[in-house]
């Protein structure tokens, strides 16, 4: 066995560029996903059936179909539907990842909200607060706290899944790896390095999440 890491060393900046795009895609996707997820989780628990059904259809669609199909749908399908020539790869990638993440985050928030004892909502309502006030000041702060660990997992999953947008040639880490491997004919060294870069990123995120858990759980205020 004859490994030649020095051959791909000069391509490291290219891979780091890719890693940077991976981080950007993931951060955007999770940010969009969190906003959508919060909104959809609130619709999902609505007593008004058409609203909660619509939310459920969204969630089921994005969780129940492959992300790869969703990426193709946005990159190739949506421009056709709207009669456009094409859509930017970045735009399609971020939208697909963001909507996919939104479905998972919606479920995280929904179960977070439902884990809060219903006496909390009742106590708030009995003081004359409206439903949105009770949600905002009483239920959601507690639900958010219990959602931090699964949100961290979602962040990590999204970072790894973002490698799928390489199929629409977005030059993120995976796609950069393929380019390098093709140029130097050293797939093993290249993809080991790519894997290590992913590992560094996921480990950093999980460290950060444990830190958040410590900060928010300093003295556990839950009853």
């Amino acid at each position: 066995m004859d490994l030649k890491f020095e051959l791909i060393w000069s391509y490291l900046p290219l891979l780091l560029e890719g890693a940077k795009l991976t981080v950007q895609l993931t951060v955007f996707a999770v940010a969009i996903g969190t906003v959508i997820g919060l909104f959809v989780s609130l619709l999902r628990i609505s007593n008004f059936k058409p609203v909660s059904w619509a939310a459920k259809i969204y969630v089921d669609f994005f969780r129940g179909t492959p992300l790869l199909v969703q990426i193709f749908l946005f990159y190739y399908g949506v421009p056709q539907l709207l009669g456009l020539d094409s859509m930017s790869r970045h735009m399609a990638g971020i939208i697909a990842l963001g909507l996919n993440s939104g479905a998972y985050v919606a479920e995280i928030f929904r179960s977070g909200i439902q884990s809060i004892h219903k006496g909390q909502m009742e106590a708030a309502r009995s003081l004359g607060m409206t439903y949105p006030q009770a949600m905002r000041y009483v239920v959601l702060p507690q639900a958010f706290k219990v959602s931090i660990p699964p949100l961290g997992n979602e962040f990590i999953a999204m970072l790894k899944d973002s490698s799928l947008v390489s199929v629409i040639s977005l030059p993120e880490l995976m796609q950069s790896g393929r380019m390098v491997a093709n140029r130097v004919y050293r797939p093993f060294e290249t993809f080991i390095l790519v894997a290590l870069l992913y590992l560094v990123m996921t480990t950093t995120i999980s460290q950060f999440v444990s830190y958040l858990e410590r900060v928010f759980g300093k003295d556990d205020h839950s009853q």
Partner: protein, 240 residues
């Protein structure tokens, strides 16, 4: 002050309230007793519409609260409720628990709300616990914070659902003292409680509920010393 006419409440096919009617006068203290599952909590929860009535009407201070057009949030500002399991907000200190509704509902400034909250915590004997989180408080202390929290909305009526039954025996007294002091100040109250000493001392009337109806009502003397209904007798002989 409170008029209830033929109130019924169904949970699915289960009829929990089967036509409750009563009148409660201003400053009156009504103690509700009855076996488990007889509908006491459901009755109380209908009075601030935490449960929506299936039929019948409830009129509080001239407002028909069972009318869907009534703004229930306004009604609830006048009707405080204290729960068996306290239901304090665990992510807020005692002071924040009490100050939250005055700030968000009454739109008081933080300073005003916290001053009010502090004076109410003082009143229930807990000013030194103002900055503690609920988990650091004993059950009796938590329940007193919960009472202060309800009082912060300056309600005209207070509802208590077995406020001492989740407490260790040595903490029952401190909570009952606070409730008594409210009674002596003239607060209109409906209290579900099996504390007979308390009922005799502060209750103006006792309602005995069974199977979704008020089967018997009267002064504490009448109900405890000379119950008429056989079911009341049977119930009292079990708990006295």
């Amino acid at each position: 002050m409170i008029t209830v006419n033929n109130l019924t409440k169904n949970f699915g096919s289960l009829q929990v309230l089967r036509g409750v009617s009563c009148q409660i006068a201003p400053k009156e203290v009504v103690v509700v007793i009855g076996p488990s599952g007889s509908g006491k909590s459901t009755f109380l929860r209908c009075l601030n519409q935490l449960e929506t009535a299936t039929s019948g009407e409830i009129i509080i201070n001239g407002t028909k609260i069972t009318d869907p057009k009534t703004n229930i949030n306004l009604v609830r500002q006048e009707v405080g409720m204290v729960f068996q399991r306290f239901n304090l907000f665990p992510h807020m200190t005692a002071l924040e628990n009490v100050a939250l509704a005055p700030m968000k509902v009454r739109k008081q400034t933080r300073a005003e709300a916290e001053e009010l909250a502090m004076s109410l915590l003082k009143r229930v004997g807990l000013q030194d616990k103002a900055h503690q989180y609920p988990e650091k408080l004993s059950g009796g202390q938590q329940q007193r914070v919960a009472i202060a929290r309800a009082l912060a909305m300056r309600p005209k009526i207070m509802l208590f659902d077995e406020p001492t039954s989740a407490l260790d025996p040595e903490m029952v007294g401190e909570v009952l003292e606070v409730i008594k002091s409210l009674a002596f100040e003239g607060m209109t109250m409906v209290v579900v409680s099996h504390e007979m000493g308390f009922a005799r001392e502060v209750g103006d009337r006792v309602f005995f509920m069974d199977e979704g109806l008020i089967l018997e009502e009267g002064t504490p003397e009448e109900i405890f010393n000379n119950p008429q209904n056989p079911r009341t007798k049977a119930f009292l002989s079990k708990i006295l």
